[in-house]
Amino acid sequence: MILHTVNKSPARSNCLKSCLRIAPHGGALMLIEDGVYASVNNTKHSQLIVDALTRMQVFVLEPDIKARGLSGLLIPGVSLVGYPGFVELTQTYDTVQSWY
């Protein structure tokens, strides 16, 4: 089982789309850095994450959310984790695939 990390904004880069085309059912998605903009609700790209949530868990790095002023704007169902939670996820999953 793979943890996929995405660190680019979905408006700027195709990383998230490519990741979600490949991400296996049962894997998980971890949004970090500018990747966290994908977790904002009701945007042009939020349907990507809404759809992803029907088949996989989606985690977002809370320090990156707070940094960018996005705390009140998130898609329901995404899970906030800190750096320690991010570390734990990399133990739960067998490998990490980074999309950048």
């Binding site: 660190n7 970090i32 850095e33 500018d34 790095l61 320090p63 800190g82 750096y83 320690p84 991010f86 570390v87 990399t90 133990q91 490998t95 990490v96 980074s98 999309w99 950048y100």
Partner: protein, 130 residues
């Protein structure tokens, strides 16, 4: 678990070094170990000994050096990526007869084989892209 972290981004141009530093501190504090830090592509600039960020900004190369010292980490900088980008140690500076060296303490210049070796020897390899 034994981790290897591969850092591909430069300080101040990419958030990757900051994310990798915070990730590294978290995993070391929770009792896991780091088999190797591998600095590649623009990540080689993390090993600059002569970066002078403003005093009110985090000094990322200095933070790496402190972390490496505290936990006695193996921190390898890809030699091919570093030399073409102007990161060079004393030995290589003498070999290539360039006027100065700028390689920070605690890091080691070595080949890409050290990344593949680290992938084999570690339980987890995490890439922090630029």
């Amino acid at each position: 678990m034994k981790y290897t972290l591969a850092i591909y981004g430069a300080p101040y141009s990419s958030q990757a070094p900051q994310t990798a530093l915070s990730f590294a501190k978290s995993l070391l504090e929770s009792g896991h170990s780091i088999y190797r830090l591998f600095f590649y592509m623009d990540g080689v600039h993390n090993a600059s000994a002569i970066a002078v960020p403003p005093q009110d900004e985090v000094n990322i190369p200095a933070e790496w050096s402190a972390l490496i010292r505290k936990y006695d980490l193996d921190a390898v900088v890809c030699i091919a990526a570093a030399l073409r980008r102007g990161i060079i140690d004393k030995t290589e500076a003498e070999r290539y007869e360039v006027s100065a060296h700028n390689f920070a303490e605690g890091f080691t210049l070595s080949g890409l084989g050290q990344l593949v070796d680290a992938g084999i020897a570690s339980d987890r390899l995490i890439t922090f892209g630029p």
